[in-house]
């Protein structure tokens, strides 16, 4: 009986305690790293918040339309606060990963390695999305204003179409960067975009041929009464 107790309970328990004692320094190190990460994250949040306010990030973001985007996403805080919070969380997450790594568990190390190798893709995809959004806003607005000034009644639709097309292109590129359904996304985008262009061409060519004829005739014959005002 004593032998049984020794083999089944006492010895494994002793081994467990031994391993725990060996593991304790690693756990302690891990906790210290994690707490340091939280403290550093809070400090960096405060520092970067001040920095972003000095370089007027909020004002720049209003001009570029980013504020509009984040308000639509339900966030009402200024961009400087959002960025500084992001930096805080990135710091905490990085230190969390380091603290996990310090436990020296092989599985965790492998996951960590793959995550680190994937990070640049996430960063590049985020940059592509951000730049794509800014560009879509800018060009969409340019198309809207130009078509209003040209007197085109569907100018709102033209502006939105330009904006959507460019943003979709940016999303496709970001997904491709992340390696999510690489070829599928690109092919799907090409099919949708090509389909839209073909549909418009057919609609104008077949369905709108009488209107197109009338419009072109007006332009060529100059029947539309224009102004003679010399504006300058």
């Amino acid at each position: 009986m004593n032998n049984f107790l020794q083999k089944v309970i006492i010895e494994p328990f002793d081994r467990f305690i031994e391993r725990l004692i060996q593991f304790l320094p690693d756990i302690l190190t891990s906790i210290i790293i994690f707490i340091s990460g939280i403290i550093l994250g809070l400090i960096l949040k405060s520092v970067f918040l001040r920095f972003f306010r000095v370089i007027k990030v909020d004002k720049l973001s209003e001009r570029s339309g980013v504020v509009e985007m984040i308000k639509k996403g339900g966030l009402k805080e200024p961009l400087s606060l959002i960025f500084s919070r992001l930096i805080c969380w990135l710091t905490i997450i990085s230190f969390s990963i380091l603290s996990l790594r310090s436990l020296n568990v092989p599985v965790i190390e492998r996951i960590f390695e793959r995550f680190i190798l994937y990070l640049p893709n996430i960063f590049v995809a985020a940059v592509i999305l951000f730049l794509g959004y800014l560009l879509s806003n800018f060009l969409g607005r340019a198309a809207l204003i130009a078509s209003v000034n040209a007197g085109i009644k569907l100018s709102g639709l033209i502006g939105k179409s330009v904006k959507l097309t460019i943003f979709l292109l940016a999303v496709t590129m970001a997904l491709e960067q992340l390696g999510i359904g690489r070829e599928t996304i690109v092919i799907a985008f090409a099919i949708i975009f090509g389909g839209i262009v073909l549909a418009i061409a057919l609609a104008f060519g077949l369905g709108g041929k009488d209107i197109a004829k009338e419009h072109i005739e007006k332009k060529i014959k100059g029947e539309e009464k224009k102004d003679d005002i010399s504006h300058l």
């Binding site: 209003e62 001009r63 709102g156 539309e224 009464k225 102004d227």
Partner: protein, 404 residues
Amino acid sequence: MENILLRKEIQEEIEKIKEADILIGIPSYNNARTIGHVVKAVQVGLAKYFPDKKSILVNSDGRSTDGTTDVVKSTTIEDSQSILLHHRISPVFKIATPYHGIPGKGSAFRTIFEVADALNVKACAVVDSDLRSITPEWIELLIKPIIESGFDYVAPLYHRHKYDGTITNSIIYPLSRTLYGKQVRQPIGGDFGFSGKLAKFYLTKDVWETDVARYGIDIWMTTTAVANNFKVCQSFLGAKIHDPKDPGADLSAMLYQVVGATFDLMETYSEVWKAVKGSEKVPTFGFQYVVGLEPVSVNLDRMIDKFRLGIRELISLWEIFIPKEIIHFLHKIEVVRKAEFHIPDEIWVEIIYSFAVAAHGKVLNKEHLLKSLTPLYVGRVASFVIETWESSAIDVEKKSIDYV
């Protein structure tokens, strides 16, 4: 930009001429059809009114391909008797040279200023190369106030159709009069006189790689002269008739260029206009007379449609920087009948000031901001046309001045 004086052929010409009393500059680009008449008018004007002065004509050309500079060089006064000249005509020196720098009227003018500076010229004038209505008297009217009365800047004063010059009448003239305190009626006329001293001053400004060189030179010359306390006057030149410009010329591009240049100058001279209160008349030379003008056709329905389209599609953009009361007014006027369509002066002034403040605060991309002004401007013109349909040109001119 390469200094034109380093070019060998120009240096040789300048060394030959050494000094001159009067310089007349003509910027050009593919104006072979019209520049001959302008050159003749200039030559006759100089011969008739300044026979004892040493004069030079400078054609600053944008590398024309239709032989413009050849026309300039070959144009002479064939028959002095028909133009009632009974004295010996001294030759007018001529320099016809391509200008360097950013393509545009400003770069062409810079070349003219540099020649004026090199020859130590006392009085200069610049005229457009496509003028049909220029007469020799224009030279007297642009140069004499400088030589005999000591003025530094002579702005033109034209007799125009009541519906012409709407950008000048509704934006540029009221804004520059209010800001700088001088009632220069045609600040972007295009034909100016200026002293050699002012030409040298213009050359000290580092604007030749900016939009001033492209299209902002007219308002820049006037504003720089007024804001730097040069002696300014204006001369009545009669009608201004020139070759019709490309009928497809984009109104929104015109607004962007002219209003953009005006807003940029507001930034440069903010310390000047902040101290200005009220405005004063500038001396006016020349015998003013009424000229018969071609009628101007106006398509009111098209203008009002364009205005309404602008409100429908651009109101969300304007809401960023135009006050709520104005936005509310625009929503109301979108649905009124043509007979009741009216944009009061106060509303229009608020709109222009809102755009100026938005440009200063860089609320939007500058080109988007100023091009979005186009439907509002077209609406204002339509309102003005409806309001003054039965009025004479004199009554309309009085209204344009009183509204400021």
